[in-house]
């Protein structure tokens, strides 16, 4: 292994570019056609083919019971319902064609080389997960930031001789010509975005997933966040898929399920521009195969690295310690569903996993550079190149002291590399000062106006906001390190507080921002403790007897950094609160528009235009009891 591809970060972290050995023409072909004996997740008496799994799901007692109930409710004939179930299963179920996988692998590797991608994998972590496999189902739960997430773990598994994961994909792919089928043959299975109003479909999906978990000897992969996070930071998890997947454990059909949090970070998100627009309310175009091909062929250039980190495998059984008794166990095993207590355990697991995804994030030079750039944007001072390097070093220190894993060996070289990767967005001007490149003017046509989800923003607003939002997108994944300390700092800046007061205000703000900065409630006590100690020892705050007040000059720069970290979110929250207080009762969509309109008209951080943030803040206000939600 050359120095170039090996960066040692700690005892258990060693990131290796798994594409490196494939460079060169015949390397790809030989690798993709090798004899392959993967490690399976569980040892079953019988290896079930994709068809076996479909059959088992269709013939299950549960489906039979659903059909009985549905037929008695609607009067539909059981035979027609049975047909419907079979159709749903066809729509959902995965298939596996090794030759398709191999050929796609070859094409994908070619594209990857065109894009100059590196896939850095924390090898010891992957090997650790692999070594624990064999006894029970394994769920891979990666973060979801890009379409690239869909195939990346499949490739990783091929590389490490792990059975290829069954990947849950949205039906927007399914409806794409050729691609839908292709992904299916590469072990993707499809789930509709909404199950409302389709009880038979919902039941079929539930049974299929449950059967898949119990009977498939490969990892099951799905995105807890449910959708690609446009903001590049964690979204609150959705609980449906995890509920379905853990059902066999709760029914004690299995002794355990292993859950593996996976973090995938990018030097550059392929979708960064569309995301920025989407955050403003400009909708994404519908996925089509044509669009995809066009897009792939535009993928020349430098896309930088992706970083895949596996968290410690979690034994759900051990994590939950005790699964409460439920009278569900009096039902036939296949008919058992989650009791409310069990469902809250699922929520607990999901929240914990998202926390672990964050904890296993990798701070890349893109993130660090974005932090530096944002600071220079806010202080309106473009930094000379050398100063940028110094600042990046400073950010590394700050983040490391807050517990982040920073991927860095040679700052100068990596900054140079990232500047190449991000050359459409960030650049050194003729004076070698770091600047953002303003985006091209977009034409706000009537058609676009109609499609815009929020307030109809002016073209000028968008032009100015887009590049900054793109910077923020790379700041965002770092925020979970900064936010707890930042809130303490911001609260104390309003005046001295006793520690108890401080803790109280902190808790309230955290709750209000729970959706914007997702975190697990359970560990909050400790998070606050740690953040407080951090603030004290870095002079962010000072303690004098009972009173906590603003720290000395030593902490000034850190205070500024921290304040900026939470500023856009706090502003969004305030704007939401203002709008709702004024109007008393308002439709959510209307509120979002008004918030955006206000954000546009005032001297606010451009990120406050984000509909995502506004939505999260409204949810936070509901959670804190300041707002109530009424169904119409």
């Amino acid at each position: 292994m050359t120095k170039k591809t090996l960066i040692k970060m700690s005892e258990t972290s060693k990131f290796i570019d798994i594409l490196e050995p494939r460079k060169g023409e015949c390397g790809v072909f030989r690798f993709m056609s090798k004899a392959w004996y993967p490690k399976r997740t569980q040892t079953l008496d019988k290896i079930n083919t994709p068809q076996d799994i479909k059959d088992a799901a269709a013939a299950s007692l549960y489906m039979e019971a659903i059909i009985e109930a549905e037929s008695s409710k609607t009067g539909a004939s059981k035979e027609s319902l049975r047909q419907e179930v079979l159709q749903h299963i066809e729509e959902i179920a995965l298939d596996k064609k090794m030759h398709v996988i191999r050929w796609t692998g070859i094409v994908a590797l070619k594209v990857a080389f065109k894009m100059n991608i590196g896939i850095y994998v924390n090898e010891p972590a992957v090997l650790k997960v692999k070594s624990t496999m064999g006894n029970n189902p394994v769920l891979f739960l990666p973060t979801h930031r890009s379409y690239a997430d869909f195939c990346i773990l499949t490739y990783l598994c091929y590389h490490y001789d792990i059975e290829l994961p069954a990947v849950a994909a949205g039906t927007d792919f399914y409806s794409m010509a050729v691609i839908g089928q292709l992904l299916r043959e590469m072990c993707a299975f499809y789930i509709r975005r909404t199950l409302a109003g389709a009880p038979l479909y919902a039941a079929t999906l539930k049974q299929y997933v449950r059967t898949l978990v119990a009977k498939h000897a490969a990892p099951i992969e799905f995105f807890l966040e449910g959708t690609r996070s446009r903001s590049n930071k964690s979204l609150p998890p959705k609980y449906g898929m995890l509920s379905m997947s853990l059902m066999p454990l709760f029914a004690r059909e299995l002794a355990d399920v292993t859950v593996v949090p996976v973090n995938i970070s990018y030097d550059r998100l392929m979708e960064q521009r569309p995301y920025a627009y989407e955050l403003l309310g400009v909708p994404k175009p519908k996925e089509t195969t044509k669009g995809l091909i066009k897009w792939i062929s535009s993928l020349n250039g430098h896309f930088g690295n992706m970083y895949i980190n596996f968290g410690d495998p979690i034994s759900v059984q051990e994590y939950l310690k005790q699964i409460p008794y439920s009278d569900e166990s009096l039902k036939p095993i296949e008919l058992q569903t989650l009791s409310p207590e069990q469902f809250s355990q699922v929520q607990d697991v999901a929240d914990y996993v998202v926390g672990q995804q964050q904890a296993n994030s990798v701070a890349t030079i893109s993130n660090l550079l974005a932090l530096v750039l944002m600071e220079s944007l806010m202080t309106q001072r473009a930094l000379p190149y050398e100063e940028v390097l110094v600042e990046v070093e400073r950010m590394i220190k700050v983040l490391r002291s807050l517990g982040a894993t920073v991927f860095e060996d040679d700052v100068r070289k990596n900054v140079d590399r990232v500047l190449v990767v991000q050359d459409k967005s960030w650049t050194l001007d003729k004076d070698r000062r770091l600047r953002i490149i303003s985006s091209e003017v977009i034409d706000v046509t009537d058609e676009l106006k109609n499609k815009m989800k929020g307030h109809t923003l002016k073209a000028e607003t968008m032009v100015n906001a887009i590049p900054i939002i793109q910077v923020q997108m790379y700041v965002n994944p770092m925020l979970h390190y900064l936010v707890p300390s930042a809130l303490i700092s911001v609260i104390v800046q309003r005046g001295p507080h006793t520690r108890d007061e401080l803790a109280r205000h902190y808790r309230r703000l955290r709750k209000l921002l729970r959706h914007e900065f997702f975190h697990t409630e359970k560990t909050e006590e400790k998070t606050f403790q740690d953040a407080f100690e951090y603030c004290v020892s870095n002079d962010v705050v000072g303690v004098c007897g009972e009173q906590v007040s603003v720290g000395g000059s030593e902490g000034a720069r850190l205070r500024a950094l921290l304040a900026r970290a939470v500023w856009p979110a706090l502003t969004s929250l305030l704007l939401c609160a203002d709008v709702c207080t004024e109007l008393q009762t308002i439709e959510q969509n209307q509120a979002l528009k008004l918030v955006q309109k206000r954000a546009e008209s005032g001297p606010y951080h451009p990120y406050c235009l984000s509909l995502d943030s506004a939505t999260h803040c409204l949810q936070g206000l509901v959670l804190a009891g300041a707002l109530t939600r009424e169904k119409q």
């Binding site: 007692l61 549960y62 039979e64 019971a65 659903i66 009985e68 109930a69 008695s72 409710k73 009880p199 039941a203 539930k206 609980y239 509920s243 008794y325 009278d327 569900e328 166990s329 009096l330 039902k331 036939p332 008919l335 569903t337 989650l338 009791s339 409310p340 469902f343 809250s344 929520q347 109280r504 808790r507 309230r508 703000l509 709750k511 209000l512 929250l573 305030l574 939401c576 609160a577 203002d578 709702c580 207080t581 109007l583 008393q584 009762t585 308002i586 439709e587 959510q588 509120a591 409204l618 206000l621 509901v622 959670l623 804190a624 009891g625 300041a626 707002l627 109530t628 939600r629 009424e630």
Partner: protein, 634 residues
């Protein structure tokens, strides 16, 4: 979306506690939603045959459907309506039979009562009623209360027809789920009112009749809305069913899916699963499917002290005394059975009837015993005495077997069973289920055993008639009462060795009691309806003309009491399947022994210390304690 008024979002300083609550609420609604969506999706909603306003379909003053009854005041007797096989056909022999036995002349207008218009005030306080209404539908209407004030004992029906109940319930509530029952029971504990669980109201022990001296308000908890099949496991042949489902609905749903529960008490058109459990019911086809105690895998009961249910669904358990057997037979005194897991069976491909004629009761009896000894009982096997045989003939429609009674008998006598005395012969009816081979083989074996005891096959038609008449016989009492004849049945279980003498002694005792009271026209008859390894069930019918009686019901009750004393002296039991209720309290302690009685009191104290379920059956009096103790102090 609306801004909260107390906590201003602007300074972000809402009351910490209320926001905590709000968070919990959010979590709760999430999980409730989960609950609804995922936990109820296998429920099979069952169409109810009997509406909530029972009186729209059922006779308010007697048994069964409104449109089904015997009429005598025409040229020939009829059974009205098309619900049963004998419906709308002349019954040319019935009037003669009624005259011969009771001197009943059906020429006068029947004394059908008018529905009452005034009812006792409901004692349920308005605020409690409102609280109940928040949980489930409630009615305080007189008619709704009246028709749930009673079961089907002679006394019940007599009080009903005369609108002379000393006490009727103060309200009726219709929960549709276990959860609602829990809430109602909690409400009762808070407000100290009495709950009587009410299934089909077919009780024949006084178990469902309101305790006369109860001072607290009485709320009848009608289980009929709890009639869903919660799940069905066709592999393990199990179903989880809400306890209020009526027998015929349950059976219809199962049959539509190729299964059967096979529990068919003669009341199964109207009685409920919960009622069967609470009374330890027995079905006609118990030989194949078992009695209720064999059918039930698990029950769930709401008591004032909480929900009692085993935490595992297992075929058998060794874990101390089986509490399932405390729930079974609890006669509404401990709580409400809300859900039951029962066994189901695939429908048999072949059902075949059969009949055998024996020269007399004794030879029929020994045949039954031998069949039981060899454990060759088909689904049902019943032996009818000569009176019942003749009554069966009297219920023939012209189209069926032709000819007048005696002619029919003669033909049988001449052509097939020479040597049988028509005033002595007895009939065994058979109901056989299984594959064609199994049924053939069984029939052959039964015929050959019958031959050993002098019996000869008398055809499938006679057997089938016997079973179809089962459900019609219950309608006879109403027509009897229309013309001053009272009728009732009582039953017992008895070991084989004492059966013959018991039947003889009881019949004789009843006749003597009638003679003492100058009751010239009466009928006492019996049949052997179930057999076991160690004995059988004997079912008596008794009817008499009440012309001589000043208080016909009291007279009847005296005679039945004398008969029960005779039964017990002759080695029979207090009841094979009707239960203790209020009618048979007197014999309870002697039956179970003193420690047994204490055990029952202890169970009551453990499950229902405040006597919420104060229906007062078995040893329980109106104060929740024992009647006998109160009496002995007086």
């Amino acid at each position: 979306m609306s801004a909260g008024t107390e906590s201003s979002p602007k300074n972000m300083s809402g009351d910490a506690k209320s926001s905590e609550q709000a968070a919990n609420n959010v979590k709760k609604t999430i999980s409730d939603k989960n609950n609804e969506n995922t936990r109820a999706d296998t429920v099979i909603k069952v169409k109810k045959t009997i509406p909530r306003k029972k009186q729209d379909l059922l006779k308010w003053y007697g048994w069964g459907y409104k449109d089904s009854m015997f009429t005598l005041n025409g040229d020939a007797a009829y059974f009205t309506g098309q619900r049963y096989a004998i419906g709308e056909k002349p019954l040319p022999h019935l009037k003669q039979w009624a005259y011969d036995n009771f001197r009943l002349v059906g020429d006068t207008q029947p004394k059908v009562p008018e529905p009452p218009t005034s009812f006792p005030e409901s004692r349920l306080p308005g605020n409690v009623r409102q609280e109940l209404e928040k949980i489930a539908p409630v009615s305080v209407e007189g008619m709704d209360r009246l028709i749930r004030a009673h079961g089907q004992t002679l006394k019940d029906i007599s009080c009903l027809r005369g609108n002379s109940f000393p006490r009727i319930p103060d309200a009726v509530v219709w929960p549709d789920s276990h959860g609602q029952v829990e809430q109602i029971v909690q409400c009762a504990s808070r407000h100290r009112f009495v709950i009587i669980p009410f299934g089909g109201g077919t009780s024949v022990s006084g178990a469902i009749t309101c305790p006369v001296k109860e001072k607290r308000p009485i709320v009848v908890l009608d289980t009929s809305e709890m009639n869903s099949i919660l799940w069905l496991d066709k592999e393990q042949l199990l179903a989880r069913v809400q306890a209020g489902i009526v027998g015929q609905d349950l059976e219809r749903e199962m049959r539509a899916r190729g299964f059967t529960v096979g529990h068919e008490p003669d009341s199964y058109e109207f009685s409920t699963l919960g009622g069967w459990v609470a009374t330890r019911a027995s079905g006609m086809k118990k030989n194949t499917y078992g009695n209720i105690e064999d059918l039930v895998v698990q029950t769930k009961m709401v008591t004032p002290r909480g929900v009692i249910e085993k935490s595992c669904r297992v075929p058998r358990i060794s874990c101390g005394p089986e509490w399932e057997h405390v729930i079974m037979g609890s006669e509404g005194c401990f709580g409400v059975v809300t859900e039951v897991t029962i066994k189901i069976r695939p429908l048999p491909p072949v059902t075949r009837y059969g009949s055998l004629v024996f020269p007399d009761w004794e030879s029929g009896f020994y045949f039954e015993w031998e069949v039981a000894r060899q454990r060759l009982q088909p689904s049902s096997i019943r032996l009818m005495d000569n009176e019942q045989f003749r009554f069966g003939q009297a219920l023939k429609t012209e189209s069926s077997w032709g000819g007048v009674l005696l002619e029919g008998l003669k033909r049988l006598y001449i052509t097939r069973i020479k040597g049988f005395d028509p005033t002595k012969l007895c009939v065994v009816t058979l109901l056989m289920e299984g594959t064609a081979e199994q049924v053939d083989e069984r029939e052959k074996k039964l015929n050959s055993i019958a031959a050993q005891f002098g019996g000869v096959p008398a055809g499938a038609g006679n057997g089938e008639r016997g079973y179809t008449l089962t459900f019609v016989i219950a309608y006879l009492r109403d027509v009897g009462m229309d013309y001053d004849v009272v009728a009732e049945s009582f039953e017992t279980s008895v070991p084989w060795d004492r059966t013959l003498s018991l039947c003889r002694n009881v019949k004789r005792r009843v006749r003597e009691e009638c003679e003492k009271r100058n009751i010239a026209h009466h009928l006492i008859s019996c049949r052997l309806t179930q057999t076991y390894d160690a004995g059988c069930c004997i079912y008596f019918y008794f009817a008499h003309n009440t012309a001589q009686c000043t208080d016909p019901v009291a007279t009847y009750e005296e005679i039945e009491e004398a008969a029960r004393n005779e039964i017990i002296a002759s080695g029979g039991s207090i009841s094979h399947h009707h239960g203790v209720g209020k009618l048979r309290k007197k014999w309870y302690t002697d039956t179970v022994s003193e420690p047994g009685r204490l055990l029952l009191l202890a169970a009551k104290k453990a499950l229902d210390p405040d006597n919420i379920f104060g229906v007062g059956n078995m040893v329980f009096g109106e104060d929740g304690g024992e009647d006998t103790l109160v009496k002995s102090k007086l």
